[in-house]
C-alpha cells in the first residue's frame, strides 16, 4: 500500500518543527512540553505548547518515528494552535486518523499524538501550579529524569 498523500505532504512541508528553547523571546514559564513514546518502540514525539492568556499561541514538535507518526504530530501542532487548554485536551486521535487517512496499522501513531498533546498540557499546568513566575530563570526542558525535571509524560 502506497503512502497517503497527506502523510507525504507533512514530511515534505512539515509545520512547526523545532523547539521554543532556542527562541529567546519565549519565557520558559509559558511552555509546556510533552515527551511520549520510547526509542525502543521506534516512536518518540516531543510536543511543546506556548500558552498566552489561556490560549495555545504556538506549538512546536519533533518526532522520531515513521511517516505517519511525523504527520500525526505535525498535524497535532496545527490543530491546537489558537485553542484553549481545555479544547486541546478534547482532541481525539480519531480526528487525526480521519484527516490523514491513516490505515489501521498506523492508528497507534495518532494515539501517541493525542497523548503528546495531553502530556504537554499537563506539563504546563504542573509548572503553573509549582509557581514558576514569568521571568524566572530558563530551565532546560530536556534533562534526564534522574535529575528530577518535569520529563515524564502524564497518563
Amino acid at each position: 500500500m502506497a503512502y497517503s498523500d497527506k502523510v507525504i505532504e507533512h514530511y515534505e512541508n512539515p509545520r512547526n518543527v523545532g523547539t521554543f528553547k532556542t527562541e529567546a523571546e519565549v519565557d520558559a514559564s509559558e511552555v509546556g512540553t510533552g515527551l511520549v513514546g520510547a526509542p525502543a518502540c521506534g516512536d518518540v514525539m516531543r510536543l511543546e505548547i506556548r500558552v498566552k492568556d489561556g490560549l495555545i499561541a504556538d506549538a512546536k514538535f519533533k518526532t522520531f518515528g515513521c511517516g505517519s507518526a511525523i504527520a500525526s504530530s505535525s498535524l497535532a501542532t496545527e490543530m491546537i494552535k489558537g485553542m484553549t487548554l481545555d479544547q486541546a485536551a478534547q482532541i481525539k486521535n480519531t480526528q487525526i486518523v480521519e484527516e490523514l487517512n491513516l490505515p489501521p496499522v498506523k492508528i497507534h501513531c495518532s494515539v501517541l499524538a493525542e497523548d503528546a498533546i495531553k502530556a504537554a498540557i499537563e506539563d504546563y499546568k504542573k509548572k503553573r501550579a509549582a509557581g514558576a513566575a514569568p521571568g524566572s530563570p530558563r530551565e532546560s526542558v530536556s534533562k534526564p529524569a534522574a535529575a528530577g525535571s518535569s520529563q515524564e509524560s502524564g497518563r
Partner: protein, 428 residues
C-alpha cells in the same frame, strides 16, 4: 551544549530535490535480496515454451512431451552444475519456501525412528523457522542456536548442540537481511565427523550463483535454491537431494510421483527453462559480477559513512554477500527514511515496516538493540545497478538522514550530550 539557534524557519522549506544524474532512471531498484528483475536473456530462453513447445514434460509418447522433457533435463544440468552436483539430484519445487518445507519436514518424517532432534539458527528465514515450529508442535525437539554479534555460527556451537537423536541440522548459506555468509564447509565437516548419519541442509537461496558454493565441499545432503533471487522468474525453485550416499525424504505433495516421488505435479517448463538459463548465466558471470557488486557496495558504504556520523553496520563486513549493506542511521526511524527515499527501493528492519509491528528478529538475534533495529536500512545491490545510481542514492540518503535528524528529538538530545539511555521513557 545548547542547540544552536536556527535560521528563520529552515524546517518550512520543501525537502531538497537531488538532481538526477545522466543515465539514471527513477525509480531505482536496490532491494535485490527481496527479488530481482528477470534478465532479458532469461526471458528469451523461456518464451518458446509458452506457445511453441508447450508440451507436458511427463508426456512420454509424443514429440511435444519429448521436447519439453529435454528442456527440463537441460535445466536440471544447468542448476546442478552451479551447485557442484548431479542433474539427477534436482527436485523442482514452486520456490525456496516449498524446498525448505520439503527438506525439513520430509527429512524429519522419514527419520523419525532415528531421532527427533533438529538444530537450526535464530537468524534463519521464516520458511525454516516456522517449519521448525510446526515440527515442535508435532513432538520434535528443536535447538535454535544464537549467532555471535557478527552474525556467524561456529562449527563448535553446532556439534556442542548435537546429540545421538539429532537427525537434521539446517543452516543457511547467506542471510537475506544482513548478507552474512556462514562457514558452511567447516560446519559440514564438523557435523559429519560428529555423526555421519545426521543430515545437513542449507537454505542456499541468497548465496546460490552469487558466491562459490559446492555441495561436495560443504558436505551438505540437501540444499534449497530459487530462481527469482538470481534474475530468473518467480514461482520456481529446487531442492537438491544427495544421491551418493542416497538421502531419502518423505514428499509433501502426492499425486503422480514426479521428481522421483518427491514432488508430484506437472512441471512448469517455461519457468524451469528460465531457471536453468539464469543458473548458466550466473555460473559464467559470477566472478566478474562478484567483483563489480562488491565495488559498488563499498562505494555506497564509503559514501554514506564519510558524510554521516552515528552509522552502524549490522553483521560482519568481511563474511558478507558482495551486494549487501545493512546499516543503521541512529536517531532516524527506518520507515520515515524509506518514505524520504521515495524513488529508491530498499527495505528496513524497523517495526513500522513489518505487518506484525515487531522489529527485525535477525538484528535482535545479533544483539542489536531495538533502537538501532528501528533505524536500520538494507541495501541489496544487483546486476542492473550502476555507479551513477549508487552516487545518486548516496546523495539522497545523506540529505534525507540529515533532514530527518533535524526533525528528531533524539538527535537533538544526542547533540546536547544527553544520554538517551538514562531517560525514563513512557511507551504507550
Amino acid at each position: 551544549m545548547a542547540v544552536q539557534a536556527q535560521s528563520p524557519n529552515p524546517m518550512q522549506q520543501k525537502s531538497i530535490a537531488i538532481p538526477v544524474p545522466e543515465g539514471v532512471k527513477l525509480p531505482i531498484f536496490m532491494d535485490n535480496h527481496s527479488t530481482t528483475a528477470v534478465d532479458l536473456r532469461v526471458v528469451q530462453a523461456m518464451l518458446p515454451f509458452f506457445t511453441q513447445h508447450y508440451g507436458n514434460a511427463a508426456s512420454r509418447n509424443h514429440s511435444f512431451g519429448w521436447t519439453a522433457e529435454a528442456a527440463v533435463d537441460n535445466a536440471r544440468a544447468q542448476v546442478a552444475a552451479l551447485l557442484g552436483g548431479d542433474a539427477k539430484e534436482i527436485v523442482w519445487t514452486s520456490g525456496a519456501t516449498e524446498a525448505n518445507n520439503l527438506a525439513i519436514k520430509g527429512a524429519a518424517s522419514f527419520l523419525r525412528k532415528q531421532g527427533n532432534h533438529i538444530i537450526t539458527v535464530e537468524t534463519e528465514h521464516k520458511s525454516v523457522l516456522d517449519t521448525c515450529k510446526r515440527l515442535q508442535r508435532e513432538g520434535f525437539e528443536v535447538t535454535y542456536l544464537t549467532p555471535a554479534k557478527d552474525g556467524l555460527v561456529s562449527p563448535e556451537q553446532v556439534t556442542a548442540a548435537m546429540t545421538d537423536k539429532t537427525i537434521l541440522v539446517t543452516i543457511m548459506l547467506a542471510n537475506n537481511e544482513i548478507g552474512v555468509i556462514q562457514p558452511i564447509e567447516a560446519i559440514g565437516a564438523a557435523i559429519k565427523a560428529r555423526n555421519p548419519k545426521t543430515l545437513f541442509h542449507t537454505d542456499a537461496v541468497q548465496g546460490f550463483g552469487k558466491i562459490a558454493f559446492d555441495v561436495e565441499k560443504a558436505r551438505v545432503d540437501l540444499a534449497s535454491v530459487t530462481a527469482h533471487k538470481l534474475y530468473g522468474p518467480k514461482g520456481i525453485g529446487a531442492l537438491w537431494v544427495r544421491r551418493k550416499p542416497r538421502v531419502r525424504i518423505d514428499p509433501l505433495i502426492d499425486g503422480g510421483g514426479h521428481e522421483r516421488g518427491m514432488r508430484s505435479g506437472t512441471l512448469p517448463v517455461p519457468l524451469i527453462a528460465g531457471f536453468g538459463k539464469a543458473a548458466e548465466l550466473a555460473r559464467q558471470e559470477m566472478d566478474e559480477e562478484q567483483y563489480r557488486l562488491a565495488t559498488l557496495r563499498d562505494r555506497l558504504y564509503r559514501g554514506l559513512t564519510t558524510r554521516l556520523t552515528e552509522t552502524y553496520v549490522n553483521g560482519s563486513l568481511e563474511h558478507r554477500l558482495p551486494g549487501n549493506l545493512n546499516i543503521s542511521f541512529a536517531f532516524v526511524e527506518g520507515e520515515s527514511l524509506l518514505m524520504a527515499l521515495k524513488d529508491v527501493a530498499v527495505s528496513s528492519g524497523s517495526a513500522c515496516t513489518s505487518a506484525s509491528l515487531e522489529p527485525s528478529y535477525v538484528l535482535r538475534a545479533l544483539g542489536v538493540g531495538d533502537e538501532l533495529a528501528h533505524t536500520s536500512i538494507r541495501f541489496g545491490i544487483g546486476r542492473f545497478n550502476t555507479e551513477a545510481e549508487i552516487d545518486y542514492v548516496v546523495e539522497l540518503v545523506v540529505a534525507s538522514v540529515e533532514r530527518l535528524r533535524t526533525l528528531s528529538p533524539l538527535w537533538e538530545m544526542h547533540q546536547e550530550g544527553i544520554d538517551i539511555a538514562s531517560i525514563q521513557w513512557t511507551p504507550h
